[in-house]
Symmetry: D2
Subunit: 255 residues, 4 copies
Amino acid sequence: MTIQVIIAGFKGRMGSTALNMVKEDKNLALAALLDPFATETEIDGVPVFTSKEELIGFSADVWVDFTTPAFAYEHTKFALENGFAPVVGTTGFTPEEIEELIALSAEKKIGGLIAPNFAIGAILLMQFAAQAAKYFPNLEIIELHHDKKKDAPSGTAIKTAELISQVRARQQQGLADEEELIAGARGADFDGMRIHSVRLPGLVAHQEVIFGAQGEGLTIRHDSYDRSSFMGGVNLGIKEVVKREHLVYGLEQLL
Amino acid sequence: MTIQVIIAGFKGRMGSTALNMVKEDKNLALAALLDPFATETEIDGVPVFTSKEELIGFSADVWVDFTTPAFAYEHTKFALENGFAPVVGTTGFTPEEIEELIALSAEKKIGGLIAPNFAIGAILLMQFAAQAAKYFPNLEIIELHHDKKKDAPSGTAIKTAELISQVRARQQQGLADEEELIAGARGADFDGMRIHSVRLPGLVAHQEVIFGAQGEGLTIRHDSYDRSSFMGGVNLGIKEVVKREHLVYGLEQLL
Amino acid sequence: MTIQVIIAGFKGRMGSTALNMVKEDKNLALAALLDPFATETEIDGVPVFTSKEELIGFSADVWVDFTTPAFAYEHTKFALENGFAPVVGTTGFTPEEIEELIALSAEKKIGGLIAPNFAIGAILLMQFAAQAAKYFPNLEIIELHHDKKKDAPSGTAIKTAELISQVRARQQQGLADEEELIAGARGADFDGMRIHSVRLPGLVAHQEVIFGAQGEGLTIRHDSYDRSSFMGGVNLGIKEVVKREHLVYGLEQLL
Amino acid sequence: MTIQVIIAGFKGRMGSTALNMVKEDKNLALAALLDPFATETEIDGVPVFTSKEELIGFSADVWVDFTTPAFAYEHTKFALENGFAPVVGTTGFTPEEIEELIALSAEKKIGGLIAPNFAIGAILLMQFAAQAAKYFPNLEIIELHHDKKKDAPSGTAIKTAELISQVRARQQQGLADEEELIAGARGADFDGMRIHSVRLPGLVAHQEVIFGAQGEGLTIRHDSYDRSSFMGGVNLGIKEVVKREHLVYGLEQLL
């Protein structure tokens, strides 16, 4: 059975990448496209709309949303109320909004996904790292990004460290009286874990978690080369939400 | 509460490493030592025996066994019958023997572990790889060992590939009409996965599973530097079997 | 002093990337553009030509050529005869042609470069690998490419192995009686060295040379992410040829 | 022709490892052993001495010295004066002493080597890194050691950075206004290069230099697993000093 997909925000970078992804998957079909900036009325036979109200009563299974924070909450609510399972990659929801949308989805018995990060590999890395930390409490994180990135450590590195913190007791790593001959050598200290941020031209977005124990080591590394890497997660989201009866927050809830 | 441990085969390489590990853990205590080749009657106040019968009626919690295939089955049965939870690193059990010992343990309500591999890192690698393969069906395995190793691929690489095969459909990787300019370039084909075996002096035992998907990659690597790496698994086994009510096969059952 | 550059083949993918590179370097200036497919007569004030004859008597320092094998020889000869130092990335020269062009350049006392590969990193990898092999004769090569690549091993891997062969005696690696449980596990055998070819979606072009010796290892890895990586080599070529008095073959001659 | 070798300090850890290395190389032969703590008068037919004076007039080619700083200078001078080419792994020479010994060796026309580091791999890494930095000025250093190491960064990392500083102009790496959300994330700043120090159980001594440029990356990594890794350098030193006519400081002078 083909899943009928609406794409809201199809004129943006993520939305247009999602459009191509849906087209190339035989199990998915484009039902409609929505974007306030659209000037076409149809594309390859698919109807194009500029406001969500035009989709009331429309028949489709999933509502993929890559719009902006200003629209995302209203869109997600609209989708649930009109029988479309939402898959939302827009950020900016408040915790209250998410709670409300989950409640609404449960009432309507419609699946859904709001995900700040659609890279399956990054999420697997975080899950595996948290799992491994139970047995290997000594670990360090190295994240490597292009040299135009402003913040260090990266958001993903901090999130990884947070997840690990929840499963291991705080512990000091390295020698108690270790000494930095040059400040910063031992990296950022997050709850006893060290995080090192590398910035170089040519790099894209990469992260390693290195675990060490007596006589052995375990390393988990994720490499993200371009935006297309997110589409695997969107695809998975579309196929999972149609089987569910309430909305979840975070792609990890579907893995 | 301190766990009282008997070590059978304490004169061997693994047994003596286990002896040191138990000594260094404050939560464990040596209750007795057993080895047919022992000439001492006690070591540091711990009684030494040369045959298992001398331990009938003895009080202890766990029976660690690093003997030989010829002894292991009888030892494990003896341990269960005498109230010691067995942690067995000896290989050579038949499937029937394992089944029988699991049944006996359930009857006696005693935990136990028989494990062909105690390296926690290697087992985590296999588990993570099987989990990741559900989302990333394209993968290759590179295993690297010292150049005195005879077989290629390694047993761990084959076991990893087997576990992955159970969760993904067979699929051809690489281009359909790809061509080896020199035979063997694309490695060993196991159910569509490619395995590459590197042999070099200096190396010990290392394995990488590399996953590739659109725009991203995920790599899981385990490095084993020396035999001491197994002791984390033995330690974990001792602490887990005392909480269980039947024997399991494979350290992964306790992770 | 600004180096004045002509770009032949500026309509092609490599040529247009070169055009942007020249524009962005304050030490370089575009003097003229040449392409039989050009329809413009000037771009941003730079004159555009469709046949090389129009450039007779023109004043410039360097002739960058990314045309096709059919044109490259005539273009390079033309450049030398008209006082432009050629930097040529087109392939397909015969050894005789290269010899003739080197002789012509020496006669004219004009520098020049014909290079089948402009990726500085790949060339450094090959040079370092050949140097290290003198001290570490045990090595294996792993090359990793996207899964649309047809040939295995890659041309760069074979070239690397050839360069290493010139500095080390053939030697069998691994155990004399090693055994492949699955054919191909030990990779392609090139003069005793093993080459392993990994093909996965998401990957671009990567190569590792791993050396092993008693108690230590040395690994050299090159990652190529996109075509822009070649421009560092073109830029270097432009700046070096103006200092030289004859043409060389291979970017390594200028490193 | 077999090279006749004296080993001074053969009772120590390095000296005894050197003794075994010489024994196993058919091109080398043990001529004599020296150690103030020796109680034997011969080992396997090789004469054993306790003071250097006993070796006046003795016939041998090379004097390997793994004694202590207190003896090393006198030993090296003695070796040169008595016709033995010294290969010295002891540290603690003053610059004046080294200069004096070089002058003495030149006068006597005897080769020699004083080396603070005999790991060929580590030296190749430093040489390659300095060479690559000419073309790729953006780089970061990651060094990884066991968690009993006190100082960070490691001496080798600092030495590598120093060598690189000599070939590249100081340059700021990363974004001008980059921000550390947690102090230390961007590592130690050495002349604009960033150095990151990882400390984990299980690790031995490892170092990576990662270069990044537009669209490409180059990584050079050295892994040192145990002390035996130094013996390749001692072996090389022995075979090279007999061909030379003056002493050099640093194994890199012989590569």
